[in-house]
Symmetry: C4
Subunit: 256 residues, 4 copies
Amino acid sequence: MKVIKYLEKPKLKSPILVEGLPGIGNVGRISASYLVEKLKAKKFAEFYSSDFFPSVIVNKDGIARLMKIEFYYYKGKNDIIIVVGDSQAMTPEGYYNISEGILEVAEKFDVKMIITLGGLGKEEVAKSPRIVGAVNDEKLIKKFKKYDIIFEGDILNTIVGVSGLLVGMAKIKNIDAICLLAETSGFPIVVADPIGAEALLRTLSKILEIEIDLSELTRDAKELEKKLIKTEEMQRKMLEKILGPEEEKKDLEYIG
Amino acid sequence: MKVIKYLEKPKLKSPILVEGLPGIGNVGRISASYLVEKLKAKKFAEFYSSDFFPSVIVNKDGIARLMKIEFYYYKGKNDIIIVVGDSQAMTPEGYYNISEGILEVAEKFDVKMIITLGGLGKEEVAKSPRIVGAVNDEKLIKKFKKYDIIFEGDILNTIVGVSGLLVGMAKIKNIDAICLLAETSGFPIVVADPIGAEALLRTLSKILEIEIDLSELTRDAKELEKKLIKTEEMQRKMLEKILGPEEEKKDLEYIG
Amino acid sequence: MKVIKYLEKPKLKSPILVEGLPGIGNVGRISASYLVEKLKAKKFAEFYSSDFFPSVIVNKDGIARLMKIEFYYYKGKNDIIIVVGDSQAMTPEGYYNISEGILEVAEKFDVKMIITLGGLGKEEVAKSPRIVGAVNDEKLIKKFKKYDIIFEGDILNTIVGVSGLLVGMAKIKNIDAICLLAETSGFPIVVADPIGAEALLRTLSKILEIEIDLSELTRDAKELEKKLIKTEEMQRKMLEKILGPEEEKKDLEYIG
Amino acid sequence: MKVIKYLEKPKLKSPILVEGLPGIGNVGRISASYLVEKLKAKKFAEFYSSDFFPSVIVNKDGIARLMKIEFYYYKGKNDIIIVVGDSQAMTPEGYYNISEGILEVAEKFDVKMIITLGGLGKEEVAKSPRIVGAVNDEKLIKKFKKYDIIFEGDILNTIVGVSGLLVGMAKIKNIDAICLLAETSGFPIVVADPIGAEALLRTLSKILEIEIDLSELTRDAKELEKKLIKTEEMQRKMLEKILGPEEEKKDLEYIG
């Protein structure tokens, strides 16, 4: 099953697509969700896939829904599409399929730039985490260096999961893309990291030329944390299935 | 391989589809099978899939048959389609595929409501098990609360497997759906739980506006139990493959 | 990849298809290979599939070839198609795919009956092994009982793998089918069992109304054994991947 | 996802295709990469696939790219296509898919011969490693024996992975193919083996009728080693997933 359901077809001017799915420290997902909330972005599409975990999520009222990825839009100085979701994939091939689904929407709306968000796992907790990046075209390095993004293969040499694949696959479609990772302890993986998310959003607000009120992030992050604990546990099991136990993940440096 | 073989094409008036596949305590399967027997429902379709366990089941006379899901119908005040089967899926994607196959039949017969049945694993045996539910649309909560069904995200926050996916996927097709789970010890998984099944059928008979003689359930359940032991052992192994060992399943709360 | 390569398109009169792939004690494969040799059956097709183990087999001269299933024919009182092969499948779905490929050839040549061969694992070595069977239609029981085949669900209640699936899937195509299993110690799985194969061929020769000189079977079986050791080791690993470690296989009674 | 992206469509006269992907001792990959460098071969195509590891590789400058297989060409006495890549496949079926992708390009350019390169794992380090071969047609044995290639089933009876499958699958397309393996310690798998690569290139230069300056191989191999360490670690995990832990791989004799 692969279903992309459009609730609305907004008119957007060469929007920037920002993606944040669950991953280490949930930094990407928290950042993207916070952005949706603060920008009052509007949902326009849902993406369902048999590459997600085979379950439904039941809310506090007893309403069940499929695992999904959601697309929101915001119209401003730069039009923005924000992609948030419940789940990465259950199989290696599934990661590619989900990235393809997201790119399908990106192409439909003539996206000019893709920014993927995530955490870069470090053994020690970073008090003021740095933002590490990877782009899909050399010309982007200069463009993004002014935002104090670190580009260095020694720090980041592999990006596993949708945030990495989107950047790589966008190249084939001639779409510029950058992956932004905030340093995070990411351990244990079930803990949401609002500090990393805050650092990521500071950088993101400059790139997107928007102001984001970050004061609620810590409070919201803690609330989110409660809601996400169960889902994250599931994500963790999925990741373990694909990448092996906790130790191995460290070698891979980044999941997301 | 995906084959839906129609033995008959009955004329049904916006039927209600009731599904019960193997799962924790086999509550869903026992309930649905009992319903077929008591309503003398008639088989009209069989669904074969390469997502099932790759084996045949041999009966006492030496007749072998593929793993399958069967569709029965009953014409009454409410027309009913009952779905029973041998097996859940072998892979995460398989769960989605099997749910899609069932929905294909549901759409063909213009099903107005889907009710999926299962057990909700509890560590302690429930003497008089409660019925916990999850729906795919808010309006259904009010409709079903009168049947003493509990809707509460704290008790049920994830439903893994076909019973959950059917509810979530029905939403995309605009079909109302509810998942009804009877509390059950569900441990060990090979034991059929007639107590949970009885509780489920009491609620179901009210919803379907039919009378079901439950007196034989205990006796039948025990007979069923014998027949199912071998098959269940196989299911258990399949579930373990997908969801990991016994402990992990508890975290997921519900399999079915 | 799925390739069925025809070397010749023989004209056959409603042939009987006999299948023997690797499995417990290799009884099925040895029997079918011996039949090919003794009947001087002629190869007419090869079936390659990405469901097999991803390797080539190199012969003593350094010639490499893909894993494959081969189809031979024999014209006589009853025309016969014999199916032998290197490998079962790597995934549960793969078992179904391979069975479908064999059925595709069966239908092309208007096969009237399918006989699948295998071993039924027993803890103790059977000195004079019994032949246990399962059919896909009740009417076949009477037909085959005269050959001293035992039909009894208590002895055989599940058949895992191609030999079982072929019987079950043939039913959908309205082709009569029987699975014949010789009792075999089948432990360790790498040992070829010429005793079981001999018992199987005695029964088979009656059904097919042909005479088969069995004197060389013991000698040939031992030679085969040497050749097959490496391949069998690979099969064992494949089966373990799908069905779990050695102990579990016993519960499943039969692999093949 | 399966994308073969052509950067150029060179005119080649019945070229010879040489393939070297990661594997034991990385002998195949090092040899093919060295050949690309020394022949100043020109890249004309890239092959992306969802059968690769779901990640991007980030270079020292922060440029991320998908896992890929690259095709280079060289025009000379014999036109040559050289295939190098980051990755084997993540699943058994994936090995077949990747081999099919390579063959697709081979057929497009009317390749007359395929030479696959790899290492043959030995417990002891070979000081002057022998070259062991396997062909897909008997007539090729005589042709290649003059190059001191050893053809002997006792030494090499199974070739797992793309280097083997390409040889087997080429046969179906009527393309001559040979797999050349240099003896290598291949342990631990993360170590690049320049000695094996040198032996392989000596033989290869005779077959291809080209001169290759091997003086830099040792130096280059060591540099390559550094670059590849991280990637190889990933390959190792992938191979372990498919083939099981280290011990089992020895039984299979060759991965590549």
